[in-house]
């Protein structure tokens, strides 16, 4: 008897759609993936929807509305394995900058009739609300890592997604270190690998879009950034971008902000 194909669903919360687009960007592998699994719920790509339960749910986006809070619990209940994909789902995303501001003021700044906007005061990662089986980082995620995660969960093994720093990947790529050779501020030492060290390869400092690596030395990074100088930006801002709610980056921003206030 033929075994039923694993049923995969893709869900969206507050996000730019880029991480689920990464799936469609796996052009060479797309039809092969579709042969191995049943794409049961992927609204961006298909109008056909199969009801749950699902063997694997990929969740993009952060929780920002009361409705999201309800929906994520439903998605969890229907999913055997739940993997969050991207900086929004794993760290609240760029929209988590509201967490450091007054949401009512934000509402008034953007919308003429702020009372019609139903939103939470915070943007939070999925893991703050339901148990998550694996978090795939990146803004956006890497295609290769997405394929690795899909293969791993479909064959019941742990995904091989190292939490080493961008520096390791940068050396492997043979880049000249932009920080040492050019004095360009670079978050590579504290940021998780996975992007392919593309910024240094383009003579630019890493800006941390994959979030903190496994064991970042934040004090040393802050000291280094302080020496290089980032004007006109206050230093805490470099950690308040796409992964502002990731704990290590949050600590870094708070430490830098405290120092800026003291000065």
């Amino acid at each position: 008897m033929a075994q039923r194909k694993p049923r995969v669903a893709v869900w969206k919360f507050a996000s730019c759609d880029g991480c689920q687009l990464t799936m469609l960007d796996c052009e060479d592998a797309l039809l092969a993936i579709a042969g191995q699994v049943e794409i049961a719920n992927f609204r961006e790509a298909s109008s056909a929807v199969v009801d749950g339960p699902y063997d694997l749910s990929l969740v993009e986006g952060s929780v920002t509305t009361p409705e999201d809070l309800r929906r994520i619990k439903e998605v969890r209940a229907e999913s055997r394995v739940l993997v969050t994909i991207g900086a929004c789902a794993t760290a609240g995303g760029i929209q988590a900058l509201r967490n450091f501001a007054d949401i009512d003021e934000y509402r008034r700044a953007v919308y003429a009739q702020p009372e019609y906007i139903e939103t939470l005061a915070t943007s939070t990662p999925i893991a703050d609300h339901v148990p998550v089986d694996f978090e795939l980082r990146g803004c956006p995620i890497s295609k290769l890592q997405l394929l690795e995660v899909l293969s791993a969960f479909l064959t019941n093994r742990a995904p091989n997604v190292p939490n080493e720093s961008v520096c390791i990947e940068c050396k492997r790529r043979g880049n000249v270190c932009v920080l040492v050779a050019r004095g360009t501020p670079c978050l590579g030492p504290v940021t998780q690998a996975g992007c392919g060290a593309i910024c240094p390869a383009f003579h630019r400092g890493c800006y941390g879009c994959f979030g903190p690596q496994g064991s970042p030395n934040i004090p040393s990074m802050l000291k280094n950034l302080g020496e290089l100088g980032l004007a006109p930006l206050p230093m805490h801002r470099v950690f308040r971008t796409f992964n502002a709610m990731a704990p290590a980056f949050r600590t870094a921003a708070d430490a830098a902000a405290a120092e800026e206030t003291a000065r």
Binding site: F13, A14, C16, D17, G18, L21, T22, L24, D25, E27, D28, L30, L31, A34, I39, R43, E44, A45, S46, S47, A48, V49, T64, T65, D68, G93, I94, Q95, L97, R98, A101, Y106, R107, A109, V110, Y111, A112, Q113, Y116, I117, E118, T119, S123, C139, P140, C195, G196, I198, C199, A201, F202, H203, R204, Y207, C209, P232, L233, R237, T241, F242
Partner: protein, 431 residues
């Protein structure tokens, strides 16, 4: 009188999350609401206080489908504010990376999102079972667009190499030459795409659109030009807000753009083509002639052919830029060393249509105010008009057929709801 309600809670095969609600009484369509339920992300609010240099990377995150459009409009707006001019090869490289996004985005929409509607499939994967070659061609074309973005931008989603003034690093001649064979293949694939699209069956309808797009003196518009329409608008980009406004629609609490005193208008491929077909490159012009495409296409379903023609143009343009490429001395134009408070606005042509950015900067180069008007918010009111006309002529259909027909009419305009959301109001009217 019987009352019918057509409700689509989640429109599939569009980018982002949207819903449609229609109320019909007897033979009268009383209400059509294209609703956005994607949560707001407050970009204009948190951009305040960020450096002008951060805008391209931050605004790219509004949309994973067209990040280059956000990077281009924000860079141009900042450069306008600071009196910087990006010319020559740097300007050409910007067009080249934008071509990559047009190829990728159009191929995505044509094959993965739009074609299944014409051939009766729920998605491209199902379509691939019966039409494997078409889907494979589409994916290959899309991949070549992505490769072009990777080459110039580092990656295809949220590229990292674009900055105010130009790029962090410019490619060598050898690097650009490496992608030439793929682009030559893409040219053939894009022409096949136009033939494939022209061979589909279209409903016989026409809409009376006000088309709005950029128009440039010599080129098919992308980064530069005046804002023009087929009803007499001809203004510099800086006057966009004088002529077009975002209005508050009480029934849906949504902000929608309209031409002041005139009503809805359409941006995107149909508008660009109607207003600029004379600026297409030779192969694009010739394939349009070959398939008998009229100079002004008013049938929204036929936009799939126009996207194909624009894809041919983008590939042709890419090859032309690579032919003429000489690496510039510097990868970017240096921004001024000192600042005064200033402001700037710019429009570029995203695959889905004009994308407007305006910024006010303080004397430290920090953003004090940001305004972004995405193509989908400009088209939203016009899409509702299309739907109203569709409903008027299709009331004999049963609810299921009518719902399908409405979804298709929405997909004709390739709406990107992720883009639209950060300024569209949610409809929270509760019974």
């Amino acid at each position: 009188m019987t009352e019918r309600t057509i409700s689509v809670d989640y429109i599939a095969r569009v980018e982002g999350e949207g819903a449609l609600k229609v109320r019909i009484r007897g033979t009268t369509v009383e209400d059509v609401q294209l609703k956005i339920w994607e949560p707001p992300r407050f970009f204009e609010a948190f951009l305040r206080g960020r450096s002008y240099l951060e805008a391209p990377d931050i605004t790219a995150r509004i949309c994973g489908i067209c990040p280059i459009a956000y990077q281009m409009s924000s860079c141009h707006a900042m450069e306008q504010a600071l009196g910087m001019r990006v010319r020559g090869q740097l300007r050409a490289l910007r067009r080249l990376i934008y071509c990559g996004e047009w190829i990728e985005s159009h191929a995505l929409h044509i094959y993965l999102l739009h074609a299944p509607d014409f051939l009766g499939y729920p998605d491209a994967l199902a379509l691939a079972k019966d039409h494997p070659d078409a889907v494979k061609h589409g994916l290959e074309l899309k991949k070549i667009g992505n490769e072009l973005m990777q080459l110039l931008g580092g990656r295809e989603i949220h590229p990292i190499n674009v900055r105010v003034g130009g790029f962090y690093r410019v490619p060598t001649v050898t690097e650009l030459e490496r992608i030439r064979p793929a682009l030559e293949t893409a040219l053939g694939l894009a022409e096949e795409t136009v033939r494939f699209a022209a061979g589909l069956t279209f409903p016989d309808i026409e809409e009376d659109y006000e088309f709005v797009s950029l128009r440039h003196e010599h080129e098919y518009p992308m980064n530069e030009g005046d804002v023009v329409s087929n009803r007499g608008v001809k203004i510099p980009m800086s006057q966009f807000e004088d002529v077009f406004e975002e209005t508050h629609v009480p029934y849906s609490h949504a902000l929608q753009s309209q031409h002041r005193g005139e009503g809805s208008y359409l941006v995107g491929p149909l508008a660009r083509y109607a207003l600029n077909h004379d600026r297409l490159l030779p192969r694009a012009k010739s394939i349009a002639r070959e398939v008998g495409l009229e100079d002004v296409v008013r049938n929204p379903y036929r936009s799939i052919i126009v996207r194909g023609v624009e894809t041919v143009h983008a590939v042709e343009e890419s090859l032309k830029i690579i032919d003429a490429y000489k690496p510039p001395d510097e990868p970017f134009v240096e921004p001024p060393a000192s600042f005064h408070a200033t402001s700037g606005a710019a429009i570029s042509e995203a695959p889905r249509g004009m994308l407007y950015h305006r910024y006010r900067l303080n004397e430290e180069g920090l953003i004090e105010e940001a305004k972004i008007v995405a193509p989908t918010s400009q088209n939203q009111k016009r899409i509702e008009d299309d739907l109203r006309h569709l409903l008027d002529r299709s009331l004999n259909l049963d609810d299921r057929e009518l719902t399908n027909a409405c979804e298709k009419a929405i997909r004709n305009h390739d709406p990107c709801i992720s883009c639209a959301t950060h300024f569209l109001k949610l409809d929270l009217v509760r019974a």
